[in-house]
């Protein structure tokens, strides 16, 4: 039989031992730490899973033609190939950026007219990476979605409608 007091005592003892261990680890100066004696098991949560995000944001259609017809000149080779699935003729690059982020760290690209798009790596399983994409446009509700992308493969993600016509288009590659 285990009384409630016994269980409480055990829990208190475990917490106290844990705090004592933490205090010893942090109190010890680095010079006096023997690397061989320190256990190499680092918790998984502290393991920095780095992801390099290459993002380019386009506007298409009428919005892209606001300052003249531009066609597909600003698209890269893979982007041009993927946009053959779309019916837009003009793609204007409005923002690009690259960043190395860890899990759940948002990478935000600020766009003209106070708009923005944020990409966050939510989880990863080998080459399959789940990301969250959030589009923010002034005066509108945020558009939020999660989708899987494959590492080192180009992905074109359709965004919200542009006020001038056409849509926002996010070209993303996760490495």
């Amino acid at each position: 039989m285990t009384s409630p007091n016994t269980g409480l005592l055990s829990a208190t003892l475990a917490v106290a031992l844990g705090m004592l261990h933490t205090a010893c680890v942090f109190a010890a100066p680095p010079s006096r730490t023997n690397p061989a004696s320190v256990p190499r098991t680092v918790p998984a949560a502290q393991t920095p899973a780095a992801f390099t995000l290459n993002a380019r944001v386009f506007i298409t259609g009428k919005a892209a033609r606001q300052h003249g017809t531009i066609g597909t000149a600003q698209l890269k080779g893979s982007e041009r190939e993927l946009t053959t699935y779309l019916t837009y003729r003009d793609y204007r690059l409005i923002q690009k950026g690259s960043a190395t982020v860890s899990l759940n760290q948002a990478f935000t690209l600020n766009l003209p007219d106070n708009a923005s798009v944020a990409v966050t790596v939510v989880s990863s399983n080998r080459d399959l990476i789940k990301i969250q994409v959030v589009w923010k446009l002034p005066g509108q509700q945020d558009l939020n979605t999660k989708l899987n992308v494959v590492r080192n493969r180009a992905t074109m993600i359709g965004g919200p409608r542009h006020p001038a016509g056409g849509i926002y288009l996010l070209s993303l590659t996760v490495k």
């Binding site: 893979s78 945020d142 558009l143 993600i157």
Partner: protein, 150 residues
């Protein structure tokens, strides 16, 4: 029944009636049949029994008409059912349904979450091509989204 068949044959074939008592009826039916032929000359050919059907309709029309209220009541009963209680319950159910259909869009507009925005995602295949699939965005308030991203 036999008499009617006999008269029909006389009207159709033009033969004299076998009994002198039927002569007047046959003549009347021939006249009526001729009138109907003229009237329906542009329509389908006249069936043999048309004269007798027309006679029945005319006889019904000449019958004593019912009072206006009784006819209306019969029409209501024929429309809603046989029993007055059923008529009232049907009418109230129809009214409730109409009211619900009128209110439903208003309720949906005020209480339901905003509809998802449909878009697309194009994946690059190892072969170099791509494939496109539908992507749905949830519409969230700014506070909710910023909370999610924190």
């Amino acid at each position: 029944m036999k008499t009617q068949t006999l008269i029909t044959q006389c009207v159709d074939s033009g033969a004299p009636p076998p009994h002198p008592a039927l002569a007047e009826t046959v003549a009347h039916q021939r006249a009526l049949s001729a009138l109907l032929r003229q009237a329906y000359a542009h329509a389908a050919p006249e069936p043999p029994q048309l004269a007798f059907l027309a006679q029945r309709v005319i006889a019904r029309a000449h019958a004593q008409p019912q009072p206006l209220f009784a006819r209306a009541w019969l029409a209501v009963r024929a429309f809603f059912g046989l029993h007055p209680l059923w008529a009232w319950s049907s009418a109230s159910a129809a009214a409730a349904l109409a009211l619900a259909l009128a209110i439903l869009p208003l309720v949906q507009r005020t209480s339901a979450a905003p509809a998802p925005v449909r878009s697309f995602v194009i994946y690059q295949l190892p072969s170099g091509g791509g494939f496109i699939r539908v992507l749905e965005y949830e519409q969230t308030s700014n506070e909710e989204t910023s909370h999610d991203q924190s």
